[in-house]
């Protein structure tokens, strides 16, 4: 591979500029390859796992994430494009989204802009769910806002290809909870516009059914306070 080099004992293309995220199972780095900027998502080996099992788990998850991203792109959902997949290293090379996490941007935006973005996100998630994909970890840290004020979904490590209303409802539940804990003030405004956008993309009946599921998830939620609030 041209310009390939070994970093920390593994082969990587391009030059690593910085580590963006260190997650539970993957390290995301920004890199440059012949002047072209991108990110790599490397699923790190776990020394405690039986070597064969470790390879299998990392390979399967890399493949799964790639498959989900392909499906999303086909559905026209904004998410980073896959540039390259290196299965031997359990690494995906992805388009770099030049922007910030919605989590970091949200509190400094005017209310009208929050409403516009929430509506846009609702449309994106509604379309994704209609297409049979649940994100699995839909929080404001996994939504990017670029300089053109467009939204992108990232990190599909926990996603599932499914039509199960339960799994789809978890997305809405997690989004709501992340707003509740980090952007308490904006939660009501955000969710109202989000649901409007969602209904526009997925249909009112589809949304209604999911909202029932969301309530159910909340009521058997792990945190007792949440359950108590309803009574």
């Amino acid at each position: 591979m041209e310009n390939a080099r070994s970093i920390g004992g593994r082969v990587m293309i391009g030059e690593r500029l910085e580590v963006i995220r260190v997650g539970a199972e993957a390290v995301v780095s920004r890199l440059e390859w012949n002047g072209f900027k991108m990110v790599s998502k490397h699923r790190v080996p776990k020394p405690y796992r039986f070597p064969e099992l470790d390879r299998l788990v990392r390979d399967r998850r890399t493949l799964h994430e790639a498959r989900v991203i392909m499906n999303l792109r086909r559905l026209g959902i904004p998410c980073p494009a896959i540039l390259l997949m290196d299965r031997s290293e359990a690494t995906l090379y992805l388009q770099l989204i030049e922007g910030v996490e919605l989590k970091k941007a949200l509190d400094s935006l005017p209310v009208e802009e929050v409403e516009r973005l929430a509506n846009m996100l609702g449309r994106i998630v509604g379309r994704m769910h209609r297409g049979g994909i649940a994100h699995g970890d839909l929080t404001t840290s996994n939504i990017m806002l670029d300089r053109m004020e467009n939204l992108y979904l990232i990190d599909f490590g926990l996603s599932t290809i499914t039509n199960d209303p339960e799994e789809l409802a978890v997305d809405i539940h997690l989004l709501d909870r992340s707003l509740e804990s980090v952007h308490h003030r904006l939660r009501a405004v955000f969710m109202r516009s989000f649901l409007k956008g969602y209904a526009a993309a997925a249909g009112m009946d589809f949304l209604q059914a999911l909202i029932e599921k969301v309530k159910e998830i909340r009521s058997r939620g792990r945190y007792v306070e949440e359950r108590r609030k309803r009574y």
Partner: protein
């Protein structure tokens, strides 16, 4: 005989959630003065709640007498009476509750309802000296990852279907080698790894698909290899979710409690993971790993100090009492 200073509190605790009827006595200085346990063993098959309850009623008086003798204390020396109020099997729980109410009323001492899962954690903290761990609670009927956050033990992850211990026990029994630790012993002679479903969802795990797949391979591949595959897969799933929980809760200690904490390979794997995060691993000693009276007595002491006692009218058993429904007020006092 142990000498007890006059300002020390003494609590008697009764465990009767499933097959064990246990009586323990603990003091507020953290001494376990008595730990007497009788385990009901069915002649064949699984545990029948009513038969276990009958066993508990028969053995109760004897266990109480022995515990008081072992501790060398008189009933009047006690400052409180604790019992496991749940979760567990209704008929079994009611035996312990009835005995505890009778003693508390007779002595005029406070009654303390203890959450069984909390008690497993607290005896682990006492016995190992760890302070604020992420806890992996793995036993025949339980698989959960929990940590103290904001007034309670929060469930960070759990099984979505069967317990890890249950999965390995059932596999061992169906394979004709018996429950744990047999599958792990066979695994040591395993060579080839056969892929089995590895279901981790965030910090949750699922074992039923894995068990079905392993059972299907029985007779088709070498048993030792299959044992290797199933134990490695189950333990890896537990270790991976524990790793996530450790990062999420931002803690530096890991505590293993419950029967499966006895597994050598699981401990080895978790220790290797802990090294990556500079975390320390603590394992509950064998005498407190299974259900026992001492853990209820000790948690009773903590609750007595924190003022978490019950009126008789509130002491109905709670077979589905979840860990995260129990307040842990003593933790707020720094205990």
């Amino acid at each position: 005989m142990t000498t007890i200073s006059p300002d020390e509190k003494l609590v008697l605790g009764i465990e009767s959630t499933a097959h064990t009827f246990g009586v323990g006595i603990a003091s507020s200085s953290g001494k376990i003065l008595a730990n007497v346990n009788y385990v009901y063993r069915p002649k064949e098959g699984g545990i029948h709640p009513r038969e276990a309850a009958q066993h508990h009623s028969r053995i109760a008086a004897k266990a109480l007498r022995e515990a008081l003798e072992q501790a060398g204390v008189k009933p009047m020396d006690l400052d409180g009476v604790a019992f496991s109020i749940g979760p567990g099997m209704g008929p079994c729980l009611r035996v312990g509750a009835t005995v505890a109410r009778a003693i508390a009323l007779r002595l005029g001492k406070p009654l303390i309802g203890v959450n069984h899962s909390v008690a497993h954690i607290e005896i682990g903290r006492l016995a190992t000296g760890c302070r604020d761990p992420v806890v992996l609670y793995v036993a025949g009927g339980n698989t959960m990852i929990t940590s103290y956050i904001d007034g309670r033990y929060r469930i960070l992850g759990e099984t979505l279907d069967i317990a890890a211990g249950n999965c390995l026990d059932v596999f061992g029994i169906k394979a004709g080698i018996g429950p744990m630790p047999a599958p792990e012993e066979y695994a040591r002679r395993g060579e080839r790894f056969h892929p089995l479903p590895y279901r981790v969802k965030g910090m949750d795990v699922s074992f039923s698909g894995l068990l079905t797949a392993a059972l299907k391979l029985l007779g088709e591949v070498r048993l030792e290899d299959l044992c290797l595959s199933i134990t490695e897969t189950v333990y890896s799933m537990l270790t991976e979710t524990l790793e996530r929980a450790l990062a999420y809760a931002e803690k530096e200690e890991i505590l293993l409690v419950g029967g499966l904490a006895r597994s050598r390979r699981l401990r080895e794997m978790i220790e290797e993971m802990a090294k990556l995060h500079d975390a320390r691993v603590y394992t509950v000693p064998p005498e407190y790993a299974g259900d026992n009276g001492a853990m209820i007595a000790w948690t009773g002491v903590l609750q007595l100090i924190a003022g978490q006692t019950l009126r008789i009218e509130e002491s109905k058993v709670r077979p589905r009492f979840r860990l995260d429904e129990a307040e842990a007020r003593w933790r707020m006092l720094g205990l």
